[in-house]
């Protein structure tokens, strides 16, 4: 199934932007939603709406069934041993914060959390908050010159003081895919746990948590065709069961008395309050949609798009492309700078041509400093991206160079 056919499932591609057909190259920020996902959200509210785990009436049973079916599907989707290992969150950021707040209570002075220079702010700041309260400190695996991790340094940094390695699966800026098997092996050999930020991974080499052997993994529905505002935190059952809750409220308690309470088992313990049931139903439809696509064909398509983008941008005078070279298993995310033109101005000119890209620091200020930039332009692709949209990107960059007098 090629991109032309896939696009037919996405109503957004009927949009005309500034007189041009939409060329949406901002998929690392969020993906668009297929009709099946939009319909699932609408169907839930139209026909099944009720609160979960609270009622005996028919709609409450239907809503609960759909919510728990989504959890079971998420477990299978990620290769988890049981639905009990799946906590519904608001997204990747929320999932990482949950671990940082719940597991982070165990940190002691002198403990170390190892991150990488590739991390998104959402996999940095929660650990800063956890470290600030505990006297633990953060260490960063540096980048090698080619935008991959310096693995010699990683081996040195992961040591007996390491309590946790928190690492991205795929960089949202450089497209670097990290060697998770090796990093997890080194961390586990030191008795440390591993959290994987899989926000960018769900359409690009989706991980299997059991095969990978990670302890926690966080991801978001909206970066895999699902709704915004819901995500998945995977945690190994024994680990989740041993953690105290971070939010109190309805749905997470066993018994509440005046001065104290006891908790339900996980994952319910971590889902205080009314959850985003419609979001879970939409996520379920998104997982079905992802599974309906030919994974090998998608991977080949995105590799071809990435190679085309690297060649097209690399061939433009004044354009500097960041990240690993083509053919090194890098993901379909390409960041670049145009000499003499601010990334916002490049993105604005592209928008006038109907080409949507992201410009800014991409929530990766430490990585930007490492690259010697304050911001970059980023184009990121998806199964529905057309090769000619990359040609429109290149033409838009040449236009920006003409407008700003650097052509």
């Amino acid at each position: 199934m090629g991109p032309e056919r896939i696009r037919q499932d996405f109503p957004i591609f009927q949009r005309v932007i500034n007189g041009h057909p939409l060329a949406y190259l901002d998929n690392a920020a969020t993906t668009h939603k297929p009709r099946a996902v939009i319909a699932a959200l609408s169907d839930f509210y139209a026909h099944h709406n009720a609160n979960v785990h609270r009622g005996v009436h028919t709609l409450a049973e239907e809503a609960t069934d759909r919510y728990e079916q989504a959890r079971a599907k998420a477990a299978r989707f990620l290769g988890a041993a049981s639905p009990d290992e799946i906590v519904f969150t608001r997204g990747t950021t929320d999932g990482i914060n949950l671990v940082a707040r719940a597991w982070g209570r165990r940190l002691r002075p002198g403990d170390e959390i190892v991150l990488t220079e590739l991390e998104h702010h959402s996999n940095i700041v929660p650990w800063q908050l956890a470290a600030a309260g505990s006297g633990a400190r953060l260490r960063y695996i540096p980048l090698a010159a080619d935008g991959t991790l310096d693995l010699d340094a990683a081996q040195r940094l992961i040591g007996p003081r390491t309590r946790l390695l928190a690492v991205t699966h795929t960089s949202n800026v450089l497209g670097t895919v990290t060697p998770l098997e090796r990093l997890i092996g080194w961390a586990h050999a030191q008795g440390a746990l591993v959290l994987v930020d899989a926000a960018q991974a769900m359409l690009r080499g989706r991980p299997d948590v059991t095969r990978l052997g990670c302890d926690f993994l966080a991801c978001s529905a909206h970066k895999m065709f699902g709704p915004m505002g819901i995500g998945i935190l995977y945690g190994r059952a024994a680990l989740l069961e041993a953690l105290e809750p971070v939010d109190g409220g309805g749905g997470m308690i066993a018994v509440v008395s005046e001065q104290s309470s006891t908790w339900r088992e996980s994952p319910a313990r971590f889902e205080a309050g009314t959850p985003d049931v419609a979001g879970a139903v939409g996520l379920s439809a998104a997982m079905d949609y992802v599974l309906s696509l030919d994974a090998a064909a998608i991977a080949a398509h995105e590799a071809a798009l990435t190679a085309r983008a690297l060649a097209a941008l690399g061939g433009l005078r004044g354009v500097r492309v960041f990240g690993p070279p083509a053919g090194t298993g890098r993901a379909s995310v390409v960041s670049f700078a145009v000499a003499g033109i601010h990334p916002h101005d490049v993105a604005q000119v592209l928008d006038e041509q109907g080409v949507a890209v992201r410009a800014g620091h991409h929530c990766c200020q430490p990585l930007m400093r490492r690259l010697g930039e304050t911001a970059t332009v980023r184009a990121s692709f998806a199964p529905y991206t057309l090769p000619e949209e990359i040609d429109r990107l290149a033409a838009g960059i040449r236009l920006a160079q003409q407008i700003f007098g650097h052509g």
């Binding site: 470290a131 601010h342 916002h344 006038e352 200020q365 304050t374 407008i403």
Partner: protein, 146 residues
């Protein structure tokens, strides 16, 4: 080449910004950031008889931020800080509210009103004015961090 936002005056001031850099012995200075993109702008100025005598902006930012700083530097020389603060509020209102008119005194900045169509760029156009406000009323406390 026709662009709704990048009119010739904007491009010209972005390419050749007036009063770019730093004043030698400033009476006031401030650095402001745009959290959206990490851009940074430094204002340095000298005062004479309670009015701005010389102002310079050091901009690490986009064409809109650069052009706005350049146009602003020409406009505010000789003005009292209170008047600058008033004009800054009027410019903000004019950029954020499509129905608000630009006061005649701000007419030299008319080209900037094109950012009304681009919500994310309003902050870029106001960055120089944020820095001027910080120069003249430095008491605004920064919130905490870890």
């Amino acid at each position: 080449m026709d662009s709704a936002l990048y009119r010739e005056q904007i491009l010209e001031h972005a390419r050749r910004p007036r009063n770019s850099g730093r004043v030698a012995a400033p009476d006031a200075q401030a650095v402001v950031n745009n959290p959206l993109c990490g851009d940074e702008l430094e204002a340095t100025l000298t005062l004479a008889d309670g009015c701005i005598r010389e102002v310079r902006f050091l901009v690490r930012g986009c064409a809109i931020a650069q052009a706005s700083a350049s146009l602003t530097s020409l406009l505010v020389q000789g003005l009292a800080p209170d008047r600058v603060a008033q004009l800054g509020r009027a410019l903000r209102a004019a950029l954020e509210d499509p129905d608000a008119a630009l006061p005649p005194e701000l007419e030299p900045l008319a080209a900037l009103t094109a950012v009304r169509q681009h919500r994310s760029r309003v902050r870029c156009a106001l960055l120089a004015w944020d820095a001027l406000a910080a120069c003249t009323a430095p008491a605004a406390a920064e919130s905490g961090g870890v």
